[in-house]
Symmetry: C2
Subunit: 387 residues, 2 copies
């Protein structure tokens, strides 16, 4: 199969975008990516759009055709495909686009992610998100995502001695990173005390342990690696695009304190890329809750199981630390428009590898990783990117 | 890119399946396909699932993980991806699986389609289906799919002199075909009179001009062509997998009487396959309404524009005619579980090419075509298959 490169990046501001519709957001991100690649829409051969639940959020399915139409790419009747795996929909759109280019079916592909979540209000949004869990065996009996991740947090604290302060430090660090990201939903710095004294959501998780409800979109332009220099001086090469599933229900898993699909997807990715964990200079991981980042950095095997909390508190995962995690601010501070997150992670890593990340630049970053989770770990997508 | 073959087929009975859930239906179709390929689940490397709107129909997203989980394929952590393009979701799942095998990312892939539509009742189902149209510019102002296709029918009658009887004959012929298909939702034969005297839905379309609300699932097993004989003596080869988009809104189109994306997708497919229209022995086309089949056989260029109605009335599209269309009974009589339809079409064509179609066998069929439409033509997927 042929190698694939990212040659264009686009990402909207994340937040409560009351003045922009679903279609506005997608077009903004898509046009930014095309402009960044110095490319016209007429050159695009296919679109892949990651979106979790436009059906529930805006009563609109068939969003592949919608985004092709409203972006004007309809002029060349581009194939446009929506892919969905809950909060991993963006990562899946990236992987689907990569496979389409690798297969030689298409040369120039846009992979995008989008979610417009705020229009239906917080209570309905919470129920929409519960559609990522097993509706019959989890959501229907009252389980919500804060509740499910709270159980994982409690088990992790019990099994490994992870502390309330260590959880809080994930949020503190990600808000610090987010404060340097112009796209972030939250740019205020917070303290361990402010996390611990924020309102309780699902014990032990408090408000500042949780990622917010967000509107936003992101897009990347993919081309065969051998054509990358036609479009950019700083191509970012895809070294691996890997995906794994696990049971959709948390209660069916081997463990409450590990997401096995993360380890499987990462093992596959490192094998394909012929790289070691120690080669990764910067990573975006799926911190939908603070406990999720601690489990992610352990299950990705950046840290030994149980050492994620202490490493976070020691500053190993902050910019300047051993392996900077979530320089964008992560889902926690940059925001989490669920279908867009996986693409935003790739945009952030690509900017880091280009050396374009401004104040949050990780010096000398050459290889990066993205980690995108659907539900409580039913789907995991891992990408390894290199400059 | 390497060639791909279909080596396993599975399809549930279509209808109002009150005793079977979404997950039951998928597992039934998937296991049939695996058994048909003489394969164990442990050999499967990836899943693609076409589904339009599980979010609205059963309040469940993340159905890729769900179907991997409930089918037991989770044991090998298979990547499982849901794709969606309204009623073309099944066709898209097939094309996505083909691209995945062609790319060499995966060797053995199941492409499946599923929809469980009856649980929420007809009125809510109609609104769910309206999510395939432009919610802001069509559905929100009262347009339904019968209404949109009725406008196309009226325009077609005006422009080409297509008659009420010609429309009715599509349904009569498809019920006749369906009467020979054990999987069909409707196996009763009907007459032109019974169509014309059925209740008016949206003038000129009457009840028997419309495809029904249906539950069902279908699945195919895909492998690299060079490995096909490991699994079957009758491999079916994929000669082309093509997809095109158009505006999501009907009012934005060049014409009310043609679906341009059909012609574009078909032209691309015939070019890739290096075949002519005259090479096609049997086709499954998207007859969500009787007018849709007439437009499809014209836009696919099996008949000149405006000649679809007369050709149907003359029997050219029945089994034994010039080019048998919808031998399964089509969406009209076999039923239309929207996400499953595109895969069911491939199952029907593959059975025809294998010579396994029983009473509805098209003698000597060697090459077949499937044509799957999303919405009023915002997405079209065309496959050409050969034995």
């Amino acid at each position: 199969m042929r190698e694939v490169a990212i040659v264009g990046l686009g990402c909207t501001k994340f937040g409560e975008m009351w003045d922009k519709s679903f279609r506005d957001l997608f077009i903004e991100a898509g046009l930014m990516a095309l402009e960044d690649a110095g490319m016209s829409g007429a050159q695009v051969e296919a679109l892949y759009g990651g979106n979790m639940s436009s059906g529930i959020f805006i009563q609109q399915e068939h969003v592949g055709a919608l985004i092709a139409d409203y972006s004007g790419l309809i002029s060349n009747n581009v194939p446009s495909t929506r892919v969905e795996a809950a909060c991993a929909s963006g990562g899946l759109a990236l992987r689907s686009g990569i496979i389409a280019v690798a297969s030689e079916y298409h040369d120039i592909v846009i992979s995008a992610g989008i979610e417009k979540m705020t229009d239906i209000g917080a209570e309905k949004a919470m129920d929409a998100l519960a559609a990522a869990a097993d509706r019959e065996w989890e959501a229907a009996v009252g389980a919500t995502f804060p509740g499910l991740y709270a159980m994982m947090a409690r088990a992790h604290m019990h099994e490994f001695g992870t502390t309330r302060e260590q959880l809080a430090q994930v949020a503190v660090k990600n808000h610090y990173h987010g404060s340097m990201n112009p796209r972030a939903q939250f740019r205020n710095r917070i303290t361990i005390d402010s996390v611990i004294s924020s309102p309780l959501v699902a014990d032990p998780l408090r408000l500042f342990d949780c990622s917010p409800i967000t509107d936003g979109a992101a897009a990347v332009v993919l081309v065969p690696a051998e054509r990358a220099r036609e479009f950019t001086d700083t191509p970012i090469y895809v070294k691996a695009a890997s995906q794994a599933s696990d049971t959709i229900s948390l209660h069916d898993r081997r463990s409450l304190t590990s997401i096995d699909a993360t380890t499987v997807a990462a093992d596959r990715a490192f094998k394909t890329a012929r790289l070691e964990r120690s080669n990764i200079d910067v990573a975006e991981v799926h911190d939908c809750f603070t406990i999720a980042e601690i489990m992610a950095i352990e299950d990705l095997r950046f840290f030994e199981k149980g050492r994620g909390g202490p490493a976070t508190l020691a500053g190993d995962t902050a910019i300047g630390g051993k392996i900077p995690i979530n320089t964008s601010g992560g889902l926690k501070a940059c925001g989490h428009p669920v279908g867009a997150t996986g693409i935003k992670q790739a945009v952030e890593i690509a900017e880091q590898l280009r050396g374009d990340a401004g104040k949050r630049q990780v010096e000398g970053a050459e290889i990066g990783l993205t980690h995108n989770v659907g539900g409580t770990g039913g789907t995991v997508v891992v990408h390894i990117l290199a400059r």
